[in-house]
Symmetry: none
Subunit: 200 residues, 4 copies
Amino acid sequence: MTAIAGNANAERRAELLATAAGVFAALGYNATTVRRIADEARLLAGSLYYHFESKESMLAEILSAFLDELWAGYGGVLAAGLGPAATIEALVTQSFRQIDRHGPAVAIYQKESGRLSAQLRFAYLTDSRAKFEGAWLRTLERGVAEQAFRSDLDVRLVYRFVRDTVWVAASWYRPGGTHRPEEIARQYLSMVLEGITPRT
Amino acid sequence: MTAIAGNANAERRAELLATAAGVFAALGYNATTVRRIADEARLLAGSLYYHFESKESMLAEILSAFLDELWAGYGGVLAAGLGPAATIEALVTQSFRQIDRHGPAVAIYQKESGRLSAQLRFAYLTDSRAKFEGAWLRTLERGVAEQAFRSDLDVRLVYRFVRDTVWVAASWYRPGGTHRPEEIARQYLSMVLEGITPRT
Amino acid sequence: MTAIAGNANAERRAELLATAAGVFAALGYNATTVRRIADEARLLAGSLYYHFESKESMLAEILSAFLDELWAGYGGVLAAGLGPAATIEALVTQSFRQIDRHGPAVAIYQKESGRLSAQLRFAYLTDSRAKFEGAWLRTLERGVAEQAFRSDLDVRLVYRFVRDTVWVAASWYRPGGTHRPEEIARQYLSMVLEGITPRT
Amino acid sequence: MTAIAGNANAERRAELLATAAGVFAALGYNATTVRRIADEARLLAGSLYYHFESKESMLAEILSAFLDELWAGYGGVLAAGLGPAATIEALVTQSFRQIDRHGPAVAIYQKESGRLSAQLRFAYLTDSRAKFEGAWLRTLERGVAEQAFRSDLDVRLVYRFVRDTVWVAASWYRPGGTHRPEEIARQYLSMVLEGITPRT
DNA sequence: GATGAATGAGCGTTCATTCAT
DNA sequence: AATGAATGAACGCTCATTCAT
């Protein structure tokens, strides 16, 4: 197989995965039939199995591709040695960029990861979640220690609050809308950091 | 059928609906089989159809019962004529109480309402959402006008932010845990109103 | 569930298994569709799954029921302490009785056991084969030692020869034909023991 | 296409058929996928259709090639004008030679011919069987008339007995094992003709 | 001669639902 | 009120086959 053929192959897979991701996000994984994905991609259901092993393996590939990119971004942020507030700003901004680029994958992750992470094949979801939680909690705790953040709040509660607040945005965010992801990130951060009542 | 029999009937329905809600919340509506609900309720799948018309009608009843209670609470708050900040505090506290009492229903609502609201039979979900949005937006706008809230934030974004933040808590909240719903509401409100960086 | 209901259940299973065995024997396991079995049994394909876990579990049940009965018969023979020739006569007669009573199961066993015995779930096929081989070889060897059988023949070859000769009869034997199983056994035994050329 | 190309073509076909026969024999015709044959032959499934019309036509070609060779051998024996016992010895020896040379084809024939012979395209299987049965029955009857064989046995039963005994050996015979086909034939014949009990 | 991508029919199986008892 | 057996539609998937390249 030549490099060009290899690319053609990879491109077709990517195309089909994008279609599948869209349908999974819109209808939910379980409610999505393989025929529906095929309809959307303009081929027959059986033909998908030339490219993928199973419906589940499409899901797995969508989620792991998303998480790989996500962690590539997070890795850079965490390695940069920023202060707690700047780290959180950067992580949130990264997250909104991912929502912008991988909207369907994020939505799928939100809806399905709870159920999936019990399965061995999706163990990386649990790993990722743990890594994510660790990074956030360490950053928040450091921020409390350095008095960048309030000490009267339950850190785990803050973590959940910010985490959910960010990711759930995937359920309404549409790329190409009024706000660019960076602007949304800025407003979210402003709310989280400053609150919605004016500082006198 | 006598009133007493009617009550017994109503109680049995409620019991079965509670069971169903638990399973729907845990597994997702689509991934839940009617047989699984029946197993959990210790009867056979076919027997559920003596009590309910269909699987979907169980879902509908669970969601509308939840929304009825929710609006009973919200109605009192909105009719009380409180100021913007107090209104928001009361609404959020109400919401956490609903999560505490109707956890499964809230979780189902979160996961499924997006898909369901397209169906005629679930039109009340869309209505409720619109009413909810209206109440919040009016309150926030009044707050901005009265300078109780910052004017430099996009009000619709704030609305989504607070809405998501509250409801998504249903996905991790477990009744009987460390924090009572009122305490969680207090911390959430403190974050939303004051932010997580200290006010000097 | 009452004993009667239990029996009704067991009877229905047995009926359906008999139907399935007939189709498996006629078409081969792989070439048999579950719809074909259902047609023959006058119900819909899906309904079979109320009674059985899978197509394969029908096969497993057919084969193990057959082997259980077979070994019940063989057990009696081997425990009877007969001489080598009488033991072989009794085993062969038993085998033809099984062919008479469980014709389809025997035919299925012949055609499919080779492939199936590689699967863990069908390990009992291998066990049974080994037990069968052991019993035959011991009997033949004892016969040679006691000069009831010729010593110039390869015992393993004789074993295969007789084994195959008996079981393969399932492929043409039809219950209710001209010959009763005992008569066929008698003629087979006469050939194997005496040969087809006259003893002067 | 030149004669040389034609030969190359024929050789490739023969190669592919040998591969296919091996897989058919090992897994059964129905359980064999065209892709599995292609894997074994190191090309892609679709490419087989350059050489053959269909999976079934491969099977047909394997079986008819086998039967052609078989009858070439049998024809010589039957035309030689031997006595009944010598004829049977020669036929059995021929059969074991075929098993040695065309093991997979014989095994396929054993397992599949019953089902196939109902199809028009495989009518030659029925013809061959009839021819085979005729030759054997005539030989046996002549033998009984000439007192070379016992007259107290059912001739059709003897026919089935010897036929099955011989062909079923294909299911365990492996070329290159301890016994050469002629030695196996000798022992088989000795059993069939003389029996396994010693002649005093 | 062979590949890669697709087709389309059919398979084993699941599951919401029905209904006589 | 509940059971047990069945229905029928749909699902994920397999596979022989086709065909442009």
